[in-house]
Subunit: 229 residues, 2 copies
């Protein structure tokens, strides 16, 4: 590399960005937007669950799952379990977060699934689930040749070797899409708020935009420091 | 790989997606949104220049510039020039496209630079320009150690070798950001139109959302087929 920085010297940066992003989305949803609630007459509190779970639960935990496989000083079998469990928790929190968005829409009589954000979101959560599903069950059915293998030490070694590049490529693609869709979501919500009178150059607008930028930087570093290189 | 597809067998797909995306954005801006104009009392026609130039000029030409370096059956020196010239044209059309957005805002008394789309856009075009600038001039000043080199056969071979990974990593990062920001832009414009009464499930909404999806698939294939692997 042209500048003398080893990638492990930057290894703490994504975790620091994750912490910053988590604090920022909580300050936004709890302090500025009134808090979180699963049941409330103020439907905005139901919506607020969505960005909190999608950022902290799905994007940040998903990123930690990706990083854990490269960075933890553990045996490979243990790292696989950590990687799998973190991704499984991220998927579950992501599904609950998406459900919260539908619940808010339904209880507020807002149409579902008309925006690019919602379409991409459904596609991402389905692909994410497929990546995980093929790691956990049914590894030897014909369609499953794609992703079966590394959690099955008994599986054919060749199959495992051959499916891994697809797991990595599809995984990176899905994760990049997830981070981009988070940025799209922040912009969409802020556009709604600004069209209802929120100041375009106010503190809340800056907070939301910078949360999106922190999210993008986190996702980029997860991939650059821990996966692609 | 787990399925028997060689990457060169898919090599035509990004070009097909680029053609589809170009037609879709032209149909949208010319047929459904009234056309393109640099000077007009109908300021929407000034805006329409923005998505057309950013998608066809910046994203598609930029992607072709990336692919050209890997795919053309030419000598390396010739491929470098093609790569450079395509990127330079993409940058120029991108700058004109961004100028059209400012011109539309200024002539319609809309605030500039408040949205995430605009912030990311400025960051992307600056990074894009830096990538190109360090390839073309001033290759030996201290700051330029990063990106100098491959267009200077006289430059120190070590410097060239060391700077290339940074050019590729930063280039991929900027290109992914550009594609994501295009999707954000389509969503932002459609959200404005829908809040002014455009049907959420109408033909135009589907056209714009699918243009964004074609753009994302194009960007993903440029990177997966021609760069990352």
């Amino acid at each position: 590399m042209g500048i003398e920085v080893k990638s492990w010297e930057l290894a703490f940066v994504p975790h620091a960005l994750a912490s910053a992003g988590a604090v920022m989305v909580l300050v936004w949803c709890i302090y500025l937007r009134g808090g979180l609630a699963w049941e409330s007459s103020n439907k905005s509190l139901v919506f607020n669950i969505h960005p909190v779970l999608m950022l902290i639960g799905f994007i940040i935990l998903g990123g930690e799952a990706i990083m854990s496989y490269k960075s933890l000083p553990l045996r490979k079998e243990v790292k696989k379990v950590v990687h799998l469990v973190l991704h499984a928790i991220a998927l579950i929190l992501g599904i609950i977060g998406i459900y919260a968005a539908f619940k808010y829409h339904n209880e507020s009589s807002i149409a579902n699934l008309y925006s690019l954000h919602s379409w991409l979101g459904i596609g991402i959560i389905v692909l994410y689930g497929i990546q995980l599903k093929f790691k956990v069950i049914d590894p030897f059915k014909p369609m499953d040749i794609w992703f079966c293998g590394i959690f099955y030490p008994g599986g054919a070694a060749g199959l495992r070797r051959e499916s891994l590049p697809w797991h990595v490529v599809v995984g990176l693609f899905v994760y990049i899409l997830a981070v981009a869709n988070a940025a799209i979501g922040f912009l969409e919500k802020l556009t709604f708020l600004e069209s209802s009178g929120l100041a375009k150059y106010g503190a809340e607008a800056y907070l939301v935009n910078f949360t999106a930028i922190v999210t993008i930087l986190y996702g980029a570093l997860v991939i650059i420091l821990y996966s692609a290189i």
